[in-house]
């Protein structure tokens, strides 16, 4: 897994690449990176999954932990470009009711602005 971050206006965008799985844990997790940004005062986070090939329950846990951390600090976390499979998982687990999921980065950014 490879995670790059960039900033657009006051929104931190994480571009995630590869596979997010339990067996592939690196020193810095997605949640840790999000927390670091939150600690730095950035409270608008966008997770871009455009180049994610696979994500397992551990990966979902990372997303959910990131969501909680952001939410607890009064921030906003949005998700863009998730795969059909992950969307199905989110639907079956009803996470679509809680998470803010968008079809692409542009729509997500617009949503930040609207809020």
């Amino acid at each position: 897994m490879k995670i790059n971050s960039r900033k657009q206006n006051d929104i931190i965008i994480f571009d995630i690449e590869g596979e997010i799985r339990r067996s592939d844990i690196s020193d810095v997790t997605l949640h840790q990176l999000v927390k670091d940004q939150l600690d730095s005062g950035n409270k608008k986070i966008l997770l871009n999954f455009d180049k994610v090939e696979f994500i397992d329950s551990f990966g979902v846990g990372e997303i959910l932990a990131s969501y909680i951390s952001t939410h607890n600090l009064g921030g906003q976390l949005k998700i863009a470009k998730i795969s059909q499979k992950l969307y199905l998982v989110f639907q079956v687990t009803m996470l679509t009711k809680v998470l803010d999921i968008h079809d692409n980065e542009e729509i997500a950014l617009t949503a930040f602005l609207e809020q």
């Binding site: 397992d56 329950s57 979902v60 846990g61 959910l64 932990a65 969501y67 909680i68 059909q84 499979k85 969307y87 199905l88 998982v89 639907q91 079956v92 687990t93 009803m94 996470l95 679509t96 009711k97 809680v98």
Partner: protein, 830 residues
């Protein structure tokens, strides 16, 4: 004599029903007029042969008869297939009349070859006429009718034997050369009787058997009938092979006995008195069987069944063979011959003919002529060959008789074994005549996947209700590998209309039309595992708990859908997940739809905490079926809990009845035991439900055991109640009215009780056989009722038969009420 008077006269000695009196009497005389002339002919046959060739050469005559019989079978089977029954029998009689007159003339000329030819002709005579007689009886009656009436017909034959024997005995002393003319004269009268029988048949409504017979006679298959075809028919059928073996062995033994008897007579009686002696003896030894036959045969068969009755004859001969082996004197010779002829003509003949009744006409006509004509004589031929081999070894006469007796013993033992096998197979043949019967709910369960249907219907509805529910439904369908092209069409899925992109992905695998390979199936499994893992995550619980709490308290219009989504989603979670506790609340939701989804999820998670709520859901017709299915999925682990509800009389009766149905769906030994214990409580308020539940279990799992004593006690109670109902309902009706009403015309509520009796019987006897019988009794024709009762006759123990038959047999109301009254006085009798 009016039919009424004839009926009253015959019904004193025969268990006869109205409408059967004329045909029974005609068949009695038909048999009488075969047997009487044959007994005369037989006396002439034996006397002439022994005088000309001596008894030592009897085996030669037997052997030649056997060979000639092969030609007779080939010829008879061909003409039987081409000529209708009436002209066939009449032309046979006429040809025997003419030939008997011809032999009368030939005997006066004193030609050396005539006694041998006459011997063979006499055997052809009896074989052909007897076979034709029994084929006609088979055409007319079903097994139950035949069981009642066969004794009467055979007594006609025996009476004919007595009259013929006495005539031969007396007339041989004065007009020995005219005996064959007298026999021929009797056959002339028989032509009139046979004509009357066929007139009666054409005047009565055709039964199903008659229709079947007519169809067979018109069919193309019979065009090729010949000796080989008859032989193959027997060879290819296990039951017929057994019957053939029984008949062959019977005649081998009979030949040994005949030889022993003649050998002793040859030693002890002078030639002058041969015809007279044979005449008197043949007559005398038929007097006893006549009375046995007329008064006892039907009762013996009814009381002991075919199996035991079949054993009486060989076992008697076994005893007598020991006697003659020990002391080969005229006393024992008469004893063994007496036993042979008396039982052969009475019990054995009757019960053997019954064995043919359930065979289909197509097979029966071919088999009967092969077995009764050819094997009959072949058996005698084989016996004769064995005797001839033995005769070549010179021994003292008394020693030879002893040795033949020992040979008889060996064959009699083989005969006993064959009889046991044939009676067992008879029951199987009867079963084959009955229509298959299955519980309607089992058919529904087997043919319909109710869970799948519900899921498809839910999917159609959820498509417009909620994208989340729709996705979950599709996921469920994919998971069960049931998202076929037909289902896709049914749920109205179109790629361009897809509302949720993820659902479209689910379709991709199955749209190809190629069965998903292992990898794809593995993916679905992994997906479900991941979903469960996600739902078990602390972070997930933390995120969702707030949402769940919010949904649970909401009361607005949209909350119902949200609750349904939640209820369904919880079904995907792990049962240890804290969120699954919320399902209890959803189970009790006031919305039926929410409850339904919660019930389905409860069935997946199977937590004990949900069981009371699920049982409560049995009360409402809106959630009953879902709750039943859910509880069934819990299986054995909740049997005890269900039993607690079952036993608690404080609980609403309707709910307890639903618990009974649920226990039936659980369907294990423990559930069966709880249901039977409840039945033993004699509370009676849900007897039928309990019995039906046990029947359902038994129909699905034949290895589940029910305590016989408890079941019988309940049967006894219900039967007694049926008797009382019948007496109360029909007892006061006038006798005339009772006579007019026949069949299973009984009060409606008794039908349920009768059904209960059969369901209970199915718990302790082979379920399929019992249910077949019940189905045929309730909805079948007269013949299928008869076959059903016949099967029960072979299955049930004596006491049960005696108790149940008065309710189910084809009786007039008067007979039924009368029998119930008598039996009620002796209750309980099993």
């Amino acid at each position: 004599m009016t039919k009424n008077r004839l009926y009253r006269l015959l019904s004193r000695t025969v268990e006869i029903k109205r409408g059967e009196e004329v045909i029974s009497l005609l068949l009695f005389f038909y048999f009488f007029l075969i047997s009487a002339p044959f007994t005369i002919i037989k006396s002439v046959r034996n006397a002439k042969y022994i005088i000309e060739y001596t008894a030592v050469r009897l085996p030669i005559a037997y052997l030649l008869t056997a060979i000639f019989m092969g030609f007779v079978v080939a010829f008879h089977s061909k003409i039987q297939a081409r000529i209708p029954r009436a002209p066939l029998i009449i032309s046979s009689l006429v040809s025997f009349i003419l030939s008997s007159f011809a032999f009368g003339i030939l005997f006066i000329k004193d030609l050396g070859w005539v006694p041998l030819v006459f011997f063979i002709w006499a055997n052809v005579f009896i074989m052909v006429l007897m076979t034709q007689f029994w084929i006609l009886v088979n055409d007319i009656f079903n097994p139950r009718e035949a069981k009642r009436l066969i004794g009467f017909f055979v007594s006609g034959g025996i009476l004919g034997g007595i009259v013929g024997g006495l005539s031969a005995g007396v007339l041989a002393l004065y007009i020995p050369d005219y005996l064959l003319y007298i026999a021929g004269g009797m056959l002339v009268v028989n032509v009139g009787v046979v004509t009357a029988i066929f007139r009666w048949r054409s005047n009565t409504a055709p039964s199903s058997t008659k229709a079947e017979t007519t169809e067979y006679l018109k069919s193309e298959k019979i065009k090729k009938v010949g000796f080989l075809d008859c032989f193959n028919t027997v060879r290819q059928n296990y039951y017929l092979k057994l019957l053939a073996a029984v008949v062959t062995v019977t005649w081998i033994v009979s030949t040994f006995i005949d030889w022993q008897y003649n050998k002793v007579i040859e030693r002890e009686v002078t030639q002058t008195f041969y015809i007279s002696f044979f005449g008197y003896f043949n007559s005398a030894l038929l007097v006893v069987p006549f009375f046995i036959q007329l008064l006892m045969t039907s009762n013996i068969i009814k009381r002991f069944g075919i199996r035991l009755t079949l054993l009486v004859y060989p076992l008697m001969l076994l005893l007598c063979s020991f006697g003659i082996a020990a002391s080969p004197t005229i006393l024992f010779a008469l004893g063994i011959k007496g036993s042979d002829k008396s039982l052969s003509f009475s019990l054995n003949q009757s019960v053997r003919e019954l064995l043919y009744i359930p065979i289909s006409p197509e097979v029966k006509y071919k088999a009967k002529i092969f077995i009764d004509m050819f094997l009959n004589r072949l058996g005698k031929g084989i016996g004769a060959l064995l005797l001839m081999i033995f005769i070549l070894v010179p021994t003292a006469p008394s020693l030879s008789i002893r040795i033949v007796s020992i040979m008889s013993l060996v064959f009699i033992l083989l005969w006993v074994v064959l009889n046991l096998k044939v009676s067992k197979e008879y029951a199987n043949i009867i079963k084959g005549k009955l229509k298959k019967s299955e519980r309607a709910d089992r058919i529904v369960d087997e043919k319909l996947d109710v869970d799948f249907m519900k899921l498809v219907l839910d999917t159609i509805e959820d498509k417009n209700r909620s994208s989340i529910l729709y996705a979950m439904d599709i996921f469920d369908l994919v998971k069960q590998d049931k998202l076929t092209p037909e289902v896709r069409k049914l749920i109205g899925y179109k790629q361009d209309e897809v509302r949720v992109s993820s659902v479209g992905m689910l379709f991709e695998g199955s749209e190809s039309g190629i069965a998903p390979d292992f990898e794809e199936r593995l993916d679905e499994g992994i997906l479900l595992k991941e979903i469960k893992e996600i739902m078990s995550l602390d972070v997930y619980q933390e995120i969702m708990s707030e949402y769940v709490d919010k949904v649970l308290v909401e009361k607005d219009g949209e909350s119902e859908t949200a609750k349904m989504e939640l209820a369904k989603a919880l079904g995907f979670s792990d049962f240890r997940s804290p969120m699954s506790e919320k399902l209890e609340e959803l189970l009790n939701d006031e919305s039926t739809e929410v409850s339904r989804y919660a019930i389905a999820s409860a069935a997946k998670l199977q937590k004990r905490e949900y069981v009371p709520a699920l049982i409560e859901k049995l009360e409402s017709p809106l959630t009953r079926m879902d709750a039943r299915v859910a509880l069934e999925k819990y299986g054995a682990k909740i049997t005890g809990t269900l039993a607690d509800y079952l036993r608690d009389v404080e609980i609403d009766l309707e709910l307890r009845k639903e618990v009974v149905a649920t226990l039936a769906r659980v369907g294990n030994q423990e559930a069966a035991d709880f249901l039977l214990w409840e039945l033993e409580e004699h509370r009676e308020d849900m007897d039928s439900e309990l019995i039906d539940a046990m029947d359902r279990i038994r129909s699905a799992y034949t290895d589940i055991h029910f305590r016989e004593r408890s079941v019988k006690t309940k049967i006894s109670e219900i039967v007694k109640e049926c008797y009382k109902n019948l007496i109360d309902s029909y007892g006061p009706i006038s006798k005339k009215s009772q006579e007019d009403r026949t069949g299973l015309d009984m009060p409606n509520h008794m039908n349920t009780r009768l059904s209960d009796v059969f369901k209970l019987l199915g718990l302790i006897y082979p379920h399929e056989d019992i249910m077949k019988s019940y189905q045929n009794i309730r909805t079948g024709t007269k013949d299928s009722v008869a076959y059903a009762v016949e099967l029960l006759d072979n299955l049930l123990q004596k006491g049960l038969k005696e108790a149940i038959f008065p309710i189910i047999e084809d009786l007039s109301i008067r007979e039924r009420v009368e029998r119930c009254r008598i039996l009620l006085q002796n209750f309980p009798f099993f």
